[in-house]
Amino acid sequence: MKLWLTGFSMKYPRLVLLLVLAVTVVFGWQFPKVKFDNDPENMLDAHEAVRVFHHQVKEKFSLYDFVIVGVSNEQDADGIFNVGTLDRIDRLTKQLLSLHRTADGAVAVRNPDGSDRILDLTPESGWQRGLNVAFQHDPNRLFTADGKSALIGRELISPSVVDNLKQAAFGSLKLEYLMEHPPTTRAEALQIRDDAMGNPLYKGTLVAEDGKAICLYLPIRDKTFSYNVANLVRALTADWPNSDQVHITGLPVAEDTFGVEMLVQMATSAPLAMLAIFLLLWIFFRRVRIIIAPLMVAMVSVIWAMGLLIGLGYDVHIMSSMIAIFLMPIAVADSVHMLSEFYDTYHLYGDKRGTMRKVVGHLFMPMLYTSLTTIAGFASLATTPIPPVQIFGLHVAFGVAVAWLLTMTLVPAYSMVFISEKSLQKLQLQRDAGKPSGLNRLLEGFGRFSYTRWKLILGVTMVVMVISVVGISRIQVNDNPVKWFTADHEIRKADAVLNRHFGGTYTAYLTLEPGVETAPTAADLQQALVEAAPHQLPEQWRDEIKTFSADLNDLPAVPDIAAFVEEARALAKSYDQRLLGDWRALADNIVYLDPAGLDLKTLARRLSALPAGQAALGRQLLDRLQGTGAVGDALIDAALAIIDQRQGRGFVALVDQQYAALTAPLFKRPAMLRWVEKLQQALAQDPVVGKSSSAVDALKKASYELQYRVDRSAAENQKRFAVPDTVSAVAQVFTQLEGMKKKDTLFHLVTRDYQEANLWVQLKSGDNKYMEQVVRDVDAFFVANPPPFPVKHAWAGLTYLNVVWQDKMVRGMLWSLGSSFVVVLLMMVVLFRSPLFGILAMLPLTVTIAFIYGLIGLVGKDYDMPVAVLSAMTLGLSVDFAIHFLERARQLQRELGSWQAAATEMFKEPAVAISRNALTISIGFTPLLVAPLVPYRTVGFFLATIMAVSWLATLFLLPALLTLFRRKAFGETAEQSLEEKG
């Protein structure tokens, strides 16, 4: 039964080879259909609540993903605010705005003179170009299918196209762009600086507070444009002087660049791994013909696995791009093991068919089980809630299964057809001639040591475990896509520079919306009116206020506030008519007077002609005007000013104001806006937050500029830099902001109905732990400072999304680690038909995993995506050595009758096979160590370490434990044990 597959393959080797070739062609056929997806957002399912919410927020507030272009100048005394740099920034802005496709499909921007500048962003290096073709990356893709520019011009943020409110001549207010024209003098350049610094929305966002840098925010239609847009900016700024440094960053660029470089990585790492494995096998076996078999197994299983993935219609994502590099070293492991034994034992049989039967005979079970455990380890990733990880896990599992099948069939078939008995005999002769290899001697030394010093080994293991547990307790869960690049990468450098100058380039959106609030009732309005009247109406109307309050009570009962306010307004009108009617009529008559030839005398005549009530008031007015000497317009103004003092605000105004206060949308209510202001102040104190922006900032700035008066002191003017006091005042200032030069920019911060607000929070770092910190701080603020009205808050933005999928990843991985541990343990118990051996098999890997994670905790490496992915598969991989070791140990103990004798034998061929296996896998992953992308390095380093540690743990710990438990494990008697000791 065990030998059926192998037997069949040796009987019909050519048929097997042909079959494998045919299937490989079918899977290889799928490759041209490949689609790439390098969006980390897809780590979350498209229907994931937070992702759906993120897109709702983007839609609601018209938010886009930004490519952030920073320009810094540390050489000029005025920093960035010098004529030359500002001119270049203006030119760049206009070029970007003019991005278009020419009639023949070329990328073009417009020069200042109106002519087209054609750009070709195709990289110069042929290698890069080749990769672009292979990965279907068009470097000139800067337009949507219908020819729209990748940039959303009207939403671009640059000094040349953002609104600015400022004071102009005669106390007037000027509305223009911050940099309406590029400056021609130093004074003009510095004026732009001062204007920018005076606007809380721009300071720390658009311009650095130190004046040395400016950030342009380029909104892109889709994140997948970001890499090309970054290249476009590089091309357009290539001729800039060295003093102006251009830095391009932002999560979309980082993520998209990662995607592009990941493909490059994939194209280089996989062949390199192949090469490394080839070289290593060559050192082991010295015959190309022999080592072709394992390499074929590796290649074919990668083709099948990737072909399946592509054929099933999955995109190649960051995770699945690693399939090849994971699969190759694992896939060769079994065949290396098999060939290793095959060549080492050939001399015993002198016949390849017989040798193969023998080798497969005793390797069948351990190979099946090592494959099964590896499959279980990868397949357990399917239990994580992260689609790309699930797909990765399942396809690697499939590839491992294929590798096992090929080892059982392809390798024997290949040996039958391509390796002659003669060459094997020659190999044997060489072998006999040579001395025992260094590896053999080393391993035999290991064997003696682990058998005699088992107590020391167990002691050391305990110590390692304790230290590891300490390390594990220090593990910090954190990730940051920008840190996926090495520290010397352009993106990392840009990120560092910009986050030093600015409030931060990592964006999160904190949205606020009304919570459950009981709709205001007629009774609420009545109560508000009764309470507010004595404060807001003149003192001398004390009695009227009392009767008004009483009259309100007597109004016919109506169901809702809208009906009640009409009644109240009618009532108030009658009071106003009685108290103010004559004043108002008088004022209206005066305002219409013809100023020509108007003096006190003619005024008196006109007033006396009015109805009695007004005439009486007119006489009071005339008394006050005596002696002013004013005539014409001045006289009218003087008269109106006196009436203003008398007239007061009236009852209708009171009703309107209270009604507005009760029914106004949440973000027109002064109390709510001031609370947001307080929240922003708290955020500003948060060391992690660089800056936050909200509609309140815009409101305060506009309120200040509108109310600014030259004849007021700076301090008095500064008092107007605040949220106005009433709903109407807020609404009227907001209305001005709605009608700016750049329409609707306000609505990035508040919805058009003013019911929901969006705080743009900029973080100094994209580290998830900082984002999590801000989330906690805001929650704490809500508890300590309950908002004046019920408010619900939620987070969106790429920085926040990363936190969410990280969290899912960590939990998912923990679960998959736990479940695969249990599954593998059960497998071991079944395989060895012994709970003791089952547990023994799990021990080396337990030590390995503990050691690796302890190490991560101790050296302060963040537990990030690649580390998380490693955890589950470590298990499946590192149990392999233990399986082989225990299986052979049991066989040998049975054959030789004592564990001591078996232990010596164990460190000959079996240990060599295990060691070759460990080396192959470790070496196979080493090309990753030189990768330019950090996650690949991490994976390479840790996998190599895992192999090394579990190899050591197997070779030292298992013999030591077997020695300790030999009675239980092998049923050896006390005498046997004594005998050995003696």
Partner: protein
Amino acid sequence: MKRYGILFLLLLWPALALAAPSADEIVARANKAAYYAGKDGQADVKMTIYDAHGGTRQREFSILRLNVAGEDQKFYVYFKKPSDVRKMAFLVWKHVGGDDDRWLWLPALNLKKRIAPGDKRTSFVGSDFFYEDVSGRGLEEDVHQLVKETDDQWLIKNTPKDPDSVEFSWYQVWIDKATSLPVKAEYFDKEGKLYRRVSAEKIETIQGHPTVVEAVAEDLLAGTRTVNRFSKVKYDIGLKERLFTERFLRRPPREVTR
């Protein structure tokens, strides 16, 4: 016979040429019809601003207009709704060939503020109309060219003399021959793409003046749209120039409060 025919044509030619007005004449006539009807005028406007997602905002205001010396005009805009901006007012003195004077009154802040001359192509109270659409664009700012003539319309292409002062590279206006009213204006960006449209949806004749009573402005890039519906349109009501002064910002004239 043929010869006579040619002779007939030759005789008639100068007459035909005279009958076809030049582009400048057409736009002058259209400008007159659209912005200068009567000595003065007044209307209530119901403005609906549609956002890209179908949400709407409503504003209601009254406009007073007075033709003064030369081509100059004065406008008074008084807000009635929404209730939180009630009594807010704008005053504009339009000076043809020069900068306009503009004042703003915010009653809730008891604030009168002069607005410095600047870009007239900025959104009017957050709508898709520009200030310039409300008060008219100076004819002298563009070069006008008659592109096409149909049985009932002229198509005029307008190219700015100072291209840097505006966001469009050119715009074209269809002018209705019967009423002389511009019925559609389309604005093109520097790449020659249409991005903005203003059109007259409904025209009624009031006191003998063909009047646009429903106008639409569309921002094709942002996907937003604003509809202005005019009612209670009246001409030659005898408005006094005195109403168009700062004094009447604080105390709105009876013409708009009634």
